[in-house]
């Protein structure tokens, strides 16, 4: 149990996917202009990330490993992810137009979110079991969501700031992200071993 809690803290704070591990940066930069959109993306990612972390664990454990096809990992995982995403999108679109309004435009973007494939690959690398994979995926997603929403909050403020012309837009956003990751350096060493 405490093992799982440790994984959670570690993925959310210490080894934050976005700010420390550099995964999932494109949506982090791309859809963080407003808190609302960031929240939508965060929700969508949390769902897909957890689900695909589990699915790819299953694929690895019950398909690739028994057949000795580890070298097909990347292909299989990305296929699984793409299908999970596509399927989620179609289902949400049909069953809940309201939810689709919130999440719709973000879902396709998730396929190409490094964090999703990254989690799947890291699960294998760290030899996580089923539950650990689920928690790892969830933790990564929560960490992603957390910094994404906070980042959106800051960006909304910075959008109204008197930023030098050359830095307006993505330049200052990146510098803001840099300072955020500077702050996250404070968590380094929090989890020993």
């Amino acid at each position: 149990m405490s093992e799982l809690a440790l994984i959670l803290v570690s993925t959310v704070l210490v080894n934050n996917f976005v700010l420390v591990k550099f995964l999932g940066l494109c949506p982090f930069m791309g859809v963080s202009r407003k808190i609302e959109t960031a929240t939508g993306m965060a929700l969508a990612t949390t769902f897909v990330l957890t689900l695909s972390s589990v699915c790819s664990y299953l694929a690895n454990e019950y398909l690739l490993a028994p057949l000795g096809l580890e070298y097909l990992r990347t292909i299989t995982f990305i296929l699984v992810i793409a299908v999970v995403v596509q399927f989620t999108e179609m289902v949400v679109h049909k069953t809940s137009p309201l939810l689709y309004q919130v999440l719709g435009i973000f879902l396709p973007l998730i396929t190409t979110n490094c964090a999703v494939l990254g989690v799947a690959l890291l699960n294998v690398q760290e030899q996580h079991g089923f539950l650990e994979s689920a928690v790892y995926g969830f933790g990564a997603a929560v960490g992603f969501s957390l910094v994404m929403i906070l980042f959106a909050g800051i960006r909304e403020r910075v959008a109204a700031a008197d930023v030098p012309a050359a830095f307006q837009g993505s330049a200052i956003a990146l510098i803001t992200a840099g300072l955020m990751s500077l702050a996250f350096m404070g968590f380094s060493g929090l989890i020993k071993g």
Partner: protein, 187 residues
């Protein structure tokens, strides 16, 4: 090698089945985004964006065929609103499509008007009253200031004049001084 091909092939086929089936099962028509975009456009219907009216432009934006900075009547605030809706960076108005001017209405010089009805045919919102060979007038409240009636008039009797500011519609100015508007802060 064969196992590899077989394994992945089967998996892919299964997924294909799933997706193909759901594409039919969960089919949805329509695209609400067009309405949302259309709602943000000024409805001047002037065609300066390069599309015959606001809605076609909205459809083009939704389809990814047009950029968000092509509507001069909407001006920077319109672009800003579109950018927010679509989650992209706002950009300056594309000068190719014209410049943002303040609101105007058409006024027909009733002395000169020959009642040719050409302007009526041009007006996208039927804001011009009159019948053939009779003097025409613009219903100022309904005129969008699109300019389209000016060119067709054979006797050049239509003029675009700025909308008058009355006490009731007066706007407080943006405070001056240190606090310059974001748009024109220098480097």
């Amino acid at each position: 090698m064969l196992t590899a091909i077989l394994a992945l092939g089967t998996l892919a086929a299964l997924f294909g089945l799933l997706l193909g089936y759901s594409a039919i099962r969960f089919r949805v028509e329509g695209d609400p985004i067009v309405d949302q975009i259309d709602n943000l456009l000024p409805q001047t219907q002037c065609g300066q964006c390069g599309f015959p009216g606001c809605r076609p432009y909205a459809e083009a934006i939704a389809g990814g065929e047009a950029d968000i900075n092509q509507c001069p009547p909407g001006g920077d605030s319109g672009i800003q609103a579109l950018a927010e809706l679509l989650g992209v960076d706002p950009k300056p108005l594309n000068a190719e499509h014209g410049e943002h001017t303040e609101a105007r209405v058409a006024v027909i010089d009733e002395q000169t008007c020959i009642g040719c009805t050409l302007c009526i045919q041009a007006c996208p919102v039927d804001a011009i009253l009159g019948a053939a060979k009779q003097m025409h007038t613009v219903i100022a409240r309904e005129c969008t200031g699109c300019d389209l009636c000016v060119a067709p008039c054979p006797v050049d009797c239509i003029e675009m004049v700025p909308v008058e500011r009355a006490l009731a519609t007066w706007k407080w100015p943006y405070p001056q001084g240190e606090h310059r508007p974001i748009a024109d802060t220098g480097s």
